[in-house]
């Protein structure tokens, strides 16, 4: 196929190009400007350098987002597979159920967890009835990760489901015919065929999880600050310092890009050889 676009295609694409320019490129340039130029408009690396002092927050954010992403993947993978093998009618009902929480406001959902996890919350109340607890659950690392998993799970299930749904049942029969039990068929056929879904699921969970600030604020108390909270503080909070905020955002973006690139590298390096 020819890669050249004709005039008509260019015309059709032009509103989209304007959109990308206004809402993606311009903000990015502004962030970069704030990060590298101080109040007097002079170029400086000062802000970028001072990001280094927050490395512990960066590391905490990365590992918490990573844990949440991995748990999301482990929960979603079998779920999406079972879903994709159901009858078409059940599939659409189940998909509705998966997406149901997404129709509720994000804040509301997270508030709900606060009331569940609190020291006087529902879970501790129930545990108390059988003589256990109360346990401190709210304002812990675990609560933040739970909040991430809960909020972003559908973003893992949906891309996985959409690639798995395209796997022809006869291919699984062929695997079974050639000696694979269910588990072997899973690793030799389903996993390799669902790699695009795994990749986009990881991206769609990891990226929002690493930059969230509401979940950590509401479920993590003050002690589990994430990059998102740090950035928010520079723009809207007491620490007001947009230049530093921009610099942190930029570094975060670079880190995310590197992680994503590394992951895709991993994916294409073992292209059709299957481990196990």
């Amino acid at each position: 196929m020819d890669k050249k676009f004709n005039i008509g295609q260019k015309l059709v694409a032009s509103p989209y190009i304007v959109w990308v320019a206004v809402f993606v490129v311009v903000p990015l340039l502004m962030v970069a400007y704030f990060a590298f130029f101080g109040d007097e408009g002079k170029f400086t690396l000062e802000y970028i350098k001072s990001v280094g002092q927050y490395s512990d927050i960066f590391i905490r954010s990365i590992w918490m987002a990573a844990v949440a992403t991995i748990i999301c993947l482990l929960i979603s993978y079998p779920l999406a597979f079972i879903l994709s093998r159901m009858s078409k009618k059940t599939q659409s009902t189940m998909l509705m159920i998966v997406m149901l929480p997404m129709w509720m406001n994000f804040l509301l959902r997270t508030y709900a967890w606060m009331t569940l996890l609190g020291n006087e919350g529902l879970i501790n109340h129930l545990l108390g009835m059988i003589g256990l607890g109360p346990f401190k659950m709210l304002n812990t690392v675990g609560a933040v990760i739970l909040g991430m998993i809960y909020n972003y799970l559908p973003y893992m299930i949906l891309p996985l489901y959409s690639v798995m749904e395209k796997i022809d049942p006869s291919v699984l029969e062929a695997a079974s015919d050639l000696g694979c039990n269910r588990i072997k068929a899973m690793f030799r056929v389903v996993v390799p065929l669902s790699i695009p879904g795994i990749m986009s699921g990881i991206t769609m969970v990891f990226v929002p999880a690493i930059s969230t600030f509401i979940i950590s604020r509401m479920l993590g108390g003050g002690g589990n600050m994430l990059i998102g909270d740090l950035i928010e503080m520079q723009f809207l909070g007491n620490a007001y310092n947009p230049n530093l905020g921009a610099a942190i955002s930029l570094v975060l973006m670079v880190i995310v890009l590197i992680i994503m690139a590394a992951m895709h590298q991993l994916d294409s390096s073992d292209d059709d050889r299957v481990l196990l």
Binding site: D168, S170, V171, E173, A174, A175, S176, D177, L178, G179, C180, N181, K184, R188, V189, P192, L193, D272
Partner: protein
């Protein structure tokens, strides 16, 4: 010879509809068995029962004297060439063929050797690295054959494995498959709806219709002694005429009496009379018992195919000589050419 596989009273239904109706079939070791029948008659379903992909509603599958009815496919010493190939889209040709061997964790050297041999066999040498999705239908079909065969199973199930090939390659592969079957001494259960393929390749032909077995026999027997008009017609186009048995060895067709060789029917019993197109001789004498006008003549390569209209039947006739269209001819056949069959139910 020992039976490798026996199907005993197999019944299968989907959504309340009976698809296999009491199938009984014994398959001997090293035999080439063909399931033959029109589309939808249950050939694929029968293979899937043997492969273990579906469970029968009732009945049992016996493999070397063991009941394997409940065994999953991966525990059966049987491999399948699927009707729709079902190749692994994420693997290249080599890895598709190697799949079963890798699952069995064979050493790399053995795998390379076996796969290379198989690809040579199915004429796909040099295609190792190709993506299976970019192959033609016929090439995919041959990968599917190699992928199943490389495991050297006790029994190989082949579901119309040559359906996507052109005539020449099809003939070549028929010979090749037959040779492989004999040299590897594998039992083949082969599905086709091409009667010529069934007759030329098989030791035993199983003719099916609407989920029931119509006849099981050697190709020659199926051809020469079809048990009913359906088999006769399916095995080769035939003239099927309503007749009435007058007494042993005498039948009435089209209001005339004919001598025949069949006996054992009731007196006055309505029967199907089957006369093969190649058994009919046309004469210039229009005073024969049955006579008619030649409606059409079609050249078929080796012979001509003619349709002759008599007063109550249109006759299909094959002959190397063709009279002119519109000419009056006599229709002749001998007692040996008349095959009497019980009327089919339904």
């Amino acid at each position: 010879m020992e039976n490798v596989i026996s199907l005993n009273d197999i019944v299968v239904s989907f959504d309340g509809e009976t698809v296999l109706n009491n199938i009984n079939l014994d398959i001997k070791d090293k035999e080439f068995v063909t399931l033959l029948g029109p589309s939808g008659c249950g050939k694929t379903t029968t293979l899937r029962i043997i492969g273990g992909f579906i469970q029968p509603d009732s009945g049992e599958v016996i493999f070397e004297n063991k009941n394997i009815t409940k065994l999953p496919p991966y525990r059966r010493n049987v491999n399948t060439v699927f009707q729709k190939y079902a190749l692994f889209p994420h693997l290249n040709v080599f890895e598709n063929v190697a799949f079963g061997l890798r699952v069995r964790k064979l050493p790399e050297k053995e795998i390379n050797k076996a796969v290379a041999e198989m690809l040579e066999l199915v004429n796909l040498k040099g295609f190792e690295e190709r993506n299976v999705q970019n192959l033609s239908g016929g090439q995919q079909q041959r990968v599917a054959i190699a992928r199943a065969l490389v495991n050297k199973p006790k029994v190989l199930l082949l579901d119309e494995p040559l359906g996507a090939l052109d005539l020449k390659l099809r003939k070549e592969m028929q010979t090749e498959l037959k040779r492989i079957q004999q040299s590897l001494e594998i039992t083949f259960i082969y599905v086709t709806h091409d009667q010529e393929e069934a007759l030329t390749m098989s030791d035993t032909v199983v003719v099916m219709k609407d989920g029931s077995i119509q006849q099981i026999g050697r190709p020659v027997d199926i051809y020469n002694e079809p048990q009913n008009a359906f088999v006769a017609d399916f095995i080769g186009e035939s003239n099927i005429i309503d007749g009435i048995m007058l007494k042993d060895r005498l039948v009435a067709i089209c209001g005339h009496e004919f001598e025949c060789v069949d006996s054992g029917f009731d007196e006055k019993q309505p029967v199907d009379v089957v006369i093969r197109p190649e058994d009919i001789t046309l004469t210039a004498n229009a005073d024969e018992k049955i006579h008619g006008v030649v409606r059409s003549v079609t050249f078929k390569g080796v012979h001509y195919e003619m349709v002759v209209d008599s007063s109550d039947f249109s006759w299909l006739v094959h002959s190397t000589k063709a009279p002119e269209v519109g000419s009056e001819v006599g229709i002749l056949f001998g007692p040996d050419d008349i095959h009497i069959m019980n009327k089919m139910k339904g």
